[in-house]
């Protein structure tokens, strides 16, 4: 499988290289759907220029990247394009290996369940075969590399690509079972933007499952491992924060980076829900709604972990999707990451209810974003409401996509326990509803 993957990477790199050399690169790096005040390349260059001028990059309100990014790009600024292409390739390879390992785990669990005869007899169609699962890792890598959102994000040199690489490496390390590396990468991802904090729960659940430690509050082994993992995670996070302090000898970056992400002072339009909401917010309620919206991102962690504690990788997918939809400054690069996982849930296709509607709405909205932006900002014949409406629609479509996959996943689990063809009391064909 290495050969097709290499071929895929070569094709992806070619596409990106061609776009880097064309005049579209300038255009794409200005688009608000692709870059946000947090991860725009222009702002990274501005931060480095401020550093050259002798002014702290955090003295102004233009630069919101973490100090490690400054340090990193200080050395590789001349090779920026190659760095972003390598990041994309790294993400794809990490996802490929992670999904490959995950498939092995899934297949092994399924084998044990079949041997223990836990599945009802009419669920033969739902059993996954190695043949169907063979190409899934390649498809996952392909979905990531050849996704137009990813390509746009890479050509715009948005640091979202680097964040995605870190999260992909974290997933790989978790799936491989290395708790320390997983904690370090998770800490790095959290350090970059706060939201990956919610991925702590699924990672913990996966590692517990891998080590056959049951998730039981009374068991000491559970608490032992949890504290170990938490300690590794918090320790790495502290190390990174302190390293950042020593880099620029000030704590300014905390309010410029984390304060910025949490308090949303910059209302530049993007594909998320925050900007127009807070542009039109009554001053009196601003703090209240900031808190509500930020809690909304973290709030689904515990319920989802409880429901999906046997399926931590699906939980990771759900969490990444929820972060991408409800974070304060989303871009299309964040969406590309969770969309890469969709081929891994190919077997759920028969239970998806809204997939046609969702895909059509996503396509239509992606096409309408630049049109309505142009009409508002350049032509002046539309106003901000048009762009905002498409933002709403896009987010509704994403929410529908995520909840559809969740529904399909739960339904398949239900069928695997209760049988595929269900009958009512009188023997007629039954319909399943959520009650």
């Amino acid at each position: 499988m290495a050969a097709p993957l290499t071929l895929l990477i070569i094709v992806a790199v070619t596409i990106r290289a061609v776009l880097f050399r064309s005049s579209l690169a300038e255009l794409i790096s200005e688009r608000v759907e692709v870059v946000s005040p947090l991860n725009a390349w222009k702002r990274v260059v501005e931060g480095l220029a401020l550093l050259d001028l002798g002014v702290s990059p955090y003295a102004g309100d233009v630069f919101h990247e973490t100090p490690l990014i400054i340090y990193f790009f200080h050395f590789v600024i001349d090779y920026a394009e190659i760095v972003f292409m390598i990041a994309d390739a790294l993400t794809a390879v990490a996802l490929y290996l992670a999904v490959k390992d995950y498939n092995k785990t899934v297949f092994r669990k399924q084998k044990y369940a079949l041997e223990a005869e836990r599945y009802p007899l009419d669920c033969v169609e739902l059993i996954r075969t190695p043949k169907e699962m063979y190409y899934i890792p390649l498809k996952v890598a392909m979905f990531y590399l050849l996704n137009p959102f990813t390509i746009l994000s890479c050509v715009a040199k948005s640091t979202c690509g680097l964040n995605n690489a870190v999260i992909a490496l974290f997933i790989l390390c978790t799936v491989k079972g290395s708790a320390l590396m997983s904690a370090i990468f998770l800490a790095l991802a959290t350090y970059q933007s706060i939201y990956p904090l919610t991925l702590f729960a699924p990672a913990l659940l996966f590692l517990l499952q891998r080590l056959y430690i049951p998730v039981n509050w009374q068991r000491s082994s559970f608490w032992l491992f949890t504290t170990q993992y938490a300690f590794m995670y918090l320790g790495s996070l502290c190390v990174m924060v302190c390293l950042s302090f020593f880099l620029l000898s000030s704590w300014d970056f905390l309010s410029s980076v984390y304060g910025f992400i949490l308090s949303v002072p910059d209302l530049t339009p993007n594909i998320g829900l925050f900007w127009y909401f807070f542009a039109e917010m009554f001053e009196h309620f601003r703090l209240f709604f900031i808190c509500v919206f930020q809690i909304n991102v973290f709030f689904y962690t515990i319920p989802l972990s409880v429901k999906l504690k046997e399926h931590p990788v699906f939980l990771i997918f759900m969490q990444i999707a929820i972060i991408s939809i409800f974070k304060s400054y989303p871009t299309v690069g964040d969406i590309a990451l969770y969309m890469a996982f969709l081929p891994a849930w190919n077997h759920l296709y028969r239970f998806l209810r809204n997939i046609f509607l969702v895909s059509v709405v996503l396509l239509a909205c992606s096409a309408l974003f630049p049109v309505l932006w142009h009409l508002w900002i350049y032509a002046g014949s539309a106003n901000s409401n048009f762009y905002y409406a498409i933002t709403l629609l896009f987010n509704v479509a994403q929410i529908l996509l995520v909840s559809d996959y969740f529904y399909a996943y739960l339904r398949r689990e239900h069928h695997l326990t209760h049988g595929l063809y269900l009958k009512r009391k009188d023997g007629s064909e039954a319909t399943l509803v959520l009650k």
Binding site: W275, F277, F326, R424, L432
Partner: protein
Amino acid sequence: MATHRCNIFMLAFVLCGLTCVFVREELVIRPLHSGDIYASFQFRTLWDTDFLRGISHYRLFPKSLGQVISKFSVRELHISFTQGYWRTMQWGQPFLPSPPGAELWVWFQDTVTDVDGAWKELTNVLSGIFCASLNFIDSTNTVQPSASFKPLGLGNVTDQRFLRYAVLPREIVCTENLTPWKKLLPCGSKAGLAVLMKSEKLFHSSFHSQALHFRPVCQDWKCKSTVLELRQTLNVVFDLHTSGQGKREWSLFKMFSRTLTEACPLASSSKVYVDVTDNPQGELFELSPTTPLLSQVVVLGDRRTYSVYDLTNQATFGQTRSLNMLLRWRAAENMLRPLLHGERYVAGYGLQTGEIHTLMYNNHPYRAFPVLLLDTVPWYLRLYIHTLTVTSKGRDNKPSYIHYQPSKDRLRPHLLEMLVQLPPNSVTEVTVQFERALLKWTEYTPDPNHGFYVGSSVISALVPSVVAMDTNSTRECPLFSSFFPCKEESSYFMRVYTEPLLVNLPTPDFSMPYNVICLTCTVVAVGYGSLYNLLTRTFQVEEPSPGLAKRLANIIRRLRGVPLL
């Protein structure tokens, strides 16, 4: 073209038995002392008709007006629409005076029995014809002057019962009044002098007046029979600064954005007169193209000399087949060029990004000197200092000192200070890109589409001085020379301010706060609702709900504690 006009003339002559119309058009251009220019159009149509016969052939006389005149038995009609006030002290006397607003005075025939009724109907009909609010003329603003407005045409009836005069000073004149007025002309606005009357230039003037005068006159000097004369006049004064852009140079194209290409084919005479009385030898201004025709006319008590352009003569239009006469004043080159000068503008399009360009001119022929440029830019225009470029004479000019304090949102603005060396006799351009921020809806001014102001840049410099400056500050010298302290003899301190900038920011819709909050919360609730359903509910086989009777029976059974149906 010439044969075409000849044919029409033949036709006009042949049909001239009963109804005879002659059309004359002329334009007079008079340069005024203040640098403004006065243009006066007159179109005259003579109509030989006999109302008593009952037949009226309208050929070149406008039918709408003819019908009105015959229906209301109008002997004389004078109506004018004016925008602006004629400044006699600066501009002299106009050819045809008119008051600001609308003025209407009418002499009815003595056969009219109910003059007031006829007057009321006439004002309403004229209001429709000219698209003006003449219907506001009623008994409260109509008078019958006994001596002032005697008939201007023929007729010996002087009973003021048949005269009505009204003026509407508040009436505004605009394109809607000009268009029907132009329609009454024989050639319309298609040919002849009327092509010059385009509203976008005519209304961008200091004074604009259009009038219509109808009266009976003698057909010839013997005065055996009377004909009806309709004169349409348009007077306009173009301002030196708003229309002329400050340059004392006038041409037909600059005044009207059109040139003349042909005379009206229906006109027997079509002439343009340019007043050259003050310019006998051409020493004040130069008139081109030159014309051999000169005429002396006695007007307003003065003998004036006019250069005449005859438009019926094809040779007037020259090789280009268009006539654009140009009056260029010989300017005196005596203004002192300042040594240091600054300009600033915003480049770019759209509401997302932009570029501020600051130009600094060093007009000293051989000395270079450093200047300090200070820019204060408000926080909502986010400057990108890595895009700062300073170029002089096409080459990069690196400033020797840059102090930049970036802005903090809603706290402080950008501060950029640079020390730039300006090469002699050059323009130095400083450009920096910025991005426009979207503000909270309460942070916009009540008129957000006016834009946001950016304060002037300040250029401070020690400019080399031609004469030795006086460093002794205790000497008795006038106040105006002792404001800035003087430290050295060879240069003096100067501060130049550039223009402020007006920048538009993207605006949210201000009428929508409640709607936006509701809609966004709805989307979040959609997410919450879907996930809540999936998290708290389980899959169950759906049993169809039993009929009403069974449900009632189940309720009773539940109360009894008996198993359900």
